[in-house]
């Protein structure tokens, strides 16, 4: 389509990676539920396996429906390409396993999703990869944590659930001085609220289960490469810069000046670990992304109203959202997020001024908010992190992540905001009564 201007976000959300199907004329993206793809000839087969020609071989490695999703998210993030995975956790694992092995070290934020903390602290240490956790806003601690074997900096764009905004420009600078990339989990902001590559991040991943799909129907993840990190210049990543016997003796950084990470992640990581996404899941996530800009606007406006309500309620002792002027990340939110503090997302926490029993009474009295372990749904959700998502963390680790025993996490959905406030009002009344 000659003559188009640089497409805007809303246009890319609908069109990036897809055109009407050339065979059938289908306008929506077809779901290619097939395990494998027929070779034209033996030579074609060999050329596909050896990366002499581009195309699909087997859906664990790539699939046309998934490829549309991958192009679309890469376009929205401003990256060079992406890899869809079975879950957000699979995207995190794929990123780490591509970049390092036993004997390596990661510096990570303390303000992480509990599942990410589990992977780094418990599981990866069993495979010889150590992690040092530092508070996201303690810049000196990030610098001090770097070791000769450090391979990665990792944090969340806004930490779950305290909404500590990651100082990506500063941390990416420190990471690059150390010769390592900065990987960020951008799940809670989605590319609509923040584009981490614009601030210096090198790799971005999402739990696509959340805002990208947006309807609480599918588990999926995706990792995007910004193409900015110079693996050869760093000298710390022989996985990408030296001949790899496990894949045709390929030197990935020689094959692609900017895409070595994606080459190895797909050709080794998806091939061997196998945490691929189902094409049906990819299609559901694509459906969600097509309305991402509209949904995120409503998530933000609803959140604003709920935050205002909670901040003025006598049963609430703290509201952890940068919309509150005293929030520690207020200034960073204004600086880094597309819509300032308003754009710090719709997943946040607050503390009930009362006992644990009152907290339970609050959750059990809610009718519209669903009590479950997810965020980023179109429906409003609630959970008690200390007993669920962050259950395995010690009290100290909980405190470092900004979570108290009475902290409640909300994920504000797309319902009428007056109905949400009414539901919260009723539940807070129940909590108040539970004190007696």
């Amino acid at each position: 389509m000659p003559g188009y201007n640089d497409p805007s976000f809303d246009t890319l959300a609908l069109h990036a990676g897809a055109t009407p199907d050339p065979t059938t004329g289908a306008r929506a993206v077809p779901i290619h539920l097939t395990t494998s793809f027929v070779f034209e000839s033996s030579d074609h087969a060999a050329a596909l396996f050896n990366l002499e020609r581009a195309g699909h071989v087997y859906s664990r490695i790539s699939n046309p429906t998934n490829a549309v999703l991958e192009q679309r998210v890469a376009a929205l993030e401003g990256g060079i390409g992406a890899i869809a995975t079975a879950s957000g956790q699979a995207a995190l694992h794929l990123s780490i396993a591509t970049l390092m092995g036993a004997g390596s070290h990661i510096v990570a934020s303390t303000a992480l999703y509990g599942g990410s903390h589990n992977l780094l602290h418990y599981t990866l240490s069993r495979f010889g990869i150590e992690t040092t956790f530092v508070k996201p806003n303690d810049i000196d601690a990030w610098r001090a944590a770097v070791r000769p074997n450090t391979k990665l900096f990792f944090g969340e764009t806004v930490g779950n659930p305290g909404l500590d905004v990651l100082d990506i420009p500063t941390l990416s600078h420190i990471a690059h001085e150390a010769g390592v990339p900065l990987l960020v989990d951008s799940t809670l902001t989605s590319p609509y609220l923040m584009k981490p590559f614009d601030h210096g991040a090198d790799l971005v991943y999402h739990s696509a289960t959340k805002f990208l799909s947006g309807h609480g129907t599918v588990i999926g993840g995706i990792v995007v490469d910004g193409g900015s990190f110079d693996w050869e210049k760093s000298g710390k990543f022989p996985e990408l810069t030296q001949s790899y016997e496990g894949f045709h003796n390929m030197v990935f950084s020689e094959e692609s000046t900017v895409g070595a990470f994606l080459l190895r992640a797909r050709r080794e990581g998806l091939r061997d670990f196998g945490a691929c996404m189902s094409p049906h899941s990819a299609w559901l996530i694509l459906q969600g992304i097509e309305t991402l800009p509209l949904r995120m606007e409503r998530h933000m406006s609803n959140t604003e109203k709920v935050v205002q309500f909670l901040a003025s309620h006598p049963m609430v002792s703290r509201v952890g959202h940068p919309l509150i002027e005293s929030h520690p990340s207020r200034a960073l939110a204004e600086k880094l997020l597309r819509f300032g503090a308003r754009g710090a997302g719709s997943v946040f926490s607050f503390d009930i001024a009362g006992s644990r029993a009152q907290g339970r009474a609050f959750i059990e009295a809610l009718k519209l908010f669903s009590h479950l372990a997810n965020v980023g749904d179109c429906r409003s959700l609630v959970i008690h992190p200390a007993s669920t998502t962050h259950f395995r963390m010690s009290d100290d680790a909980l405190q470092s992540a900004g979570i108290g025993p009475g902290t409640i996490r909300l994920s504000i959905g797309l319902e009428d905001p007056d109905d949400l406030i009414e539901d919260l009002k009723r539940a807070l009344k129940a909590a108040e009564k539970a004190a007696s």
């Binding site: 055109t19 990366l51 002499e52 193409g227 000046t257 900017v258 895409g259 080459l263």
Partner: protein, 276 residues
């Protein structure tokens, strides 16, 4: 692989050429691939890797002063042609086919005119003559290269849904090209290779004379929706080839300026047919 060449001051430097994942073998027919402005060898990966595994030597160069190659970035098409000639000598290649994209097509044309019978085939991909660069873009490449990179990416792309490309399925070729442009620009802190390359294109005046001196078959491989080097802008060369009785062919692929990654299969098919 790296070859030791000498610059205009007789100073040695290392020049890089990608060999398609196979060891260089001077006994095989050799194809030299030459990239365009703010690109490097990696734009040719699919085509070069295939040919390297199907009976050819490939040498996909990083031009001097670009990415992995040392030396001074060429300031003219003629200077770049001298580099290609020197590269062939250093590699011990007597005869070679040349494939050039955009600026690289002019370098290939000029090289073929100078080396005459040493060049067996000349493939001009996304070519034009004269290859004038708009004053606005030329100025932006010097004074606001980030903006100019955005401009050339918009002008170079014809689709929001490229087929599986060099990084495989899931490649956002728009973003990949932009990242490569930035990397190449950053690879030379001494010279703005963006402006220097564009200026070399804009200044080159020897196209028709060079074509007249070419002795080998010529392929014009053009993008039907190319806005950087439109098919119309290649017509003066095509007309001259016809008038001079050259052995030439024209293939148009249904994409924009980056034929190699927006139409990788069609581009490979055209090159295979031409070279074999």
């Amino acid at each position: 692989m790296y070859l030791t060449l000498t610059d205009s001051n007789a100073q040695p430097y290392q020049a890089y050429a990608y060999t398609g994942g196979k060891a260089f073998d001077a006994q095989k027919p050799t194809v030299v691939f030459i990239h365009g402005v703010l690109n490097d060898h990696s734009v040719w990966i699919l085509q070069t890797r295939y040919l390297a595994h199907h009976g050819f030597n490939v040498l996909a160069v990083d031009l001097p002063g670009h990415c992995k190659s040392g030396g001074d970035a060429p300031a003219s098409v003629e200077e770049a042609a001298q580099f290609v000639a020197q590269l062939l000598d250093a590699a011990g290649v007597q005869k070679a086919a040349l494939v050039g994209h955009s600026w690289g097509s002019l370098i290939a044309l000029e090289t073929a005119s100078q080396l005459k019978e040493r060049i067996t085939h000349l493939a001009l991909v996304g070519t034009a003559f004269p290859m004038k660069v708009s004053p606005m873009l030329l100025d932006a490449s010097l004074n606001d290269p980030s903006k100019a990179i955005e401009m050339i990416n918009v002008f170079s792309r014809a689709t929001l849904s490229a087929p599986p490309s060099a990084l495989g399925p899931g490649t956002w070729v728009y973003g990949a090209a932009r990242a490569l442009n930035r990397r190449v620009l950053a690879s030379n802190p001494k010279v703005n290779v963006f402006h220097r390359g564009f200026k070399a294109c804009d200044d080159y005046a020897n196209g028709l004379n060079a074509l007249n001196a070419v002795t080998c078959p010529v392929l014009f491989l053009l993008g039907q929706q190319d806005q950087m080097t439109t098919p119309k802008a290649a017509q003066s060369l095509i007309d001259a080839a016809k008038a001079q009785g050259k052995n030439f062919s024209v293939v148009k692929v249904p994409m924009g300026h980056h034929q190699m990654n927006e139409s990788p299969e069609e581009t490979l098919a055209a090159l295979k047919q031409f070279l074999t």
